[in-house]
Amino acid sequence: MNAPMTSPWAAAGLVLRRDLALAFRRWEQVTHPVVFFLMVATLFPLALSPKPSLLADIGAGVVWVSALLSSMLALESLFRADVEDGTLEQLTLSGQPLAILVLAKTVAHWLLSGVPLVLASPVVATAFGAAGTAYGVLMGSIALGTAVLSLIGSVGAALTVGSRRGSVLLSLLVLPLVMPVLIFGARATDLALHGDPSAAGPLWLLGSMLILALTLTPFATAAALRISLE
């Protein structure tokens, strides 16, 4: 009762470290999103035509659609385990602001599902014959984009955590909201891969979306999770 309290940011660090520790004890699950990403990207040349000129044109779009679907895949499990085993109840009673703890969980989710995609994206772009000069912009835009996807997706995951078949509902809720991310992300990547210096424009827009999502979504997610406890 008189002991010093843990500060909210230290508490967020604890949540982040615990989620990473839990993920690495189930190592095979960590690799699922990136394997899915590579699989989806492989489908496009098989379904369309393997002409090098066509592939170079669609490379940026393929990377983005694959990244979007892959990060949707991992979203559903973001809060489910914590709700089912009672951990969420304990998080809300820790005396720490729930929005900050939820933000830490979302950051952990991004580190596990977004960062592997960032690292794998140059491989896919190269396989599609994209010019090899703009990997910085490609990886930067994927990093910004997947971070926004994780944040917006966390609201959807919190809203659907109580429903039995939440995954379809989750996609219906989240996909329309992340379309701007797809539009600007794919545009930035496409411009950069074609050596166009105006790629900075869409990148700035992605950055501003990230800041907007960072400041708003943790509160919405925390509120949705509190409702799910009722």
Partner: protein
């Protein structure tokens, strides 16, 4: 922090509806520092709903909950820090050891060291399992680890929903002693249980939900 002798939980005319069911019909009580309250009632009488309302998970349609004289809606995080809740679920991660589970849950509240965590596990009789993955523990052992979390919470108010589930006779007696020690030190405990709590007359107050 309020004066320890002032710790007081008041429920005033709580009305709770779950869908079409009127679960809590004007529940009122005062729990003062040092009180060990045994919440009784048949299945479906609203014991769990009352504890979840007091923990802040459910919002009553009407009525006020006050902690130390202040409505809890005014300082939710402060109230949350003063209470510990043991629900039906143990809130343990099967892939982490009991020690890691406790380290996480306790450090969210205040910085602590491993010897203190092991002491709590020893008091609950699960020190030998401290470094095994929690998923290999028996149901009763998991319940004891969850109770160690409550013990470590430094919370004044304990809300325990069926804490004796899956415990053997010895475990029940140990846990009753731990709860009694908490209330004797000025804490408050609200405990739901279907079995009688075996303590000297006058130590436990019964609150019956119809």
């Amino acid at each position: 922090m309020a004066d320890p002798a002032d710790a007081r939980l008041e429920a005033d005319d709580l009305q709770l509806w779950r869908g079409q069911r009127h679960v809590l019909r004007g529940v009122s009580f005062v729990a003062r520092a040092g009180e060990f309250i045994h919440l009784k009632g048949p299945n479906g009488s609203g014991k769990t709903s009352l504890l979840r309302t007091l923990a802040g998970f459910l919002w009553p349609e009407d009525g006020v909950i006050r902690w130390c004289g202040q409505p809890v809606s005014e300082d939710r995080d402060g109230y949350a820090a003063a209470l510990a809740y043991l629900g039906h679920e143990n809130a343990l991660k099967g892939d982490l050891t009991p020690l890691e589970n406790l380290r996480f849950a306790t450090r969210l509240r205040y910085p602590t060291s491993d010897p203190a965590l092991r002491d709590a596990l020893t008091r609950l009789g699960v020190a030998a399992q401290a470094d095994l993955p929690a998923r290999v523990l028996s149901a009763g052992q998991k319940r004891r680890v969850a109770m160690a979390r409550v013990l470590l919470s430094q919370a004044r108010l304990w809300l325990l929903d069926e804490p004796f589930t899956n415990l053997d006779g010895r475990g029940v007696a140990d846990l009753v002693a731990i709860i009694a020690a908490h209330t004797q030190a000025g804490g408050i405990a609200l405990v739901t249980s279907h079995s009688d709590i075996d303590l000297a007359p006058g130590t436990v107050r019964e609150l019956v939900l119809a």
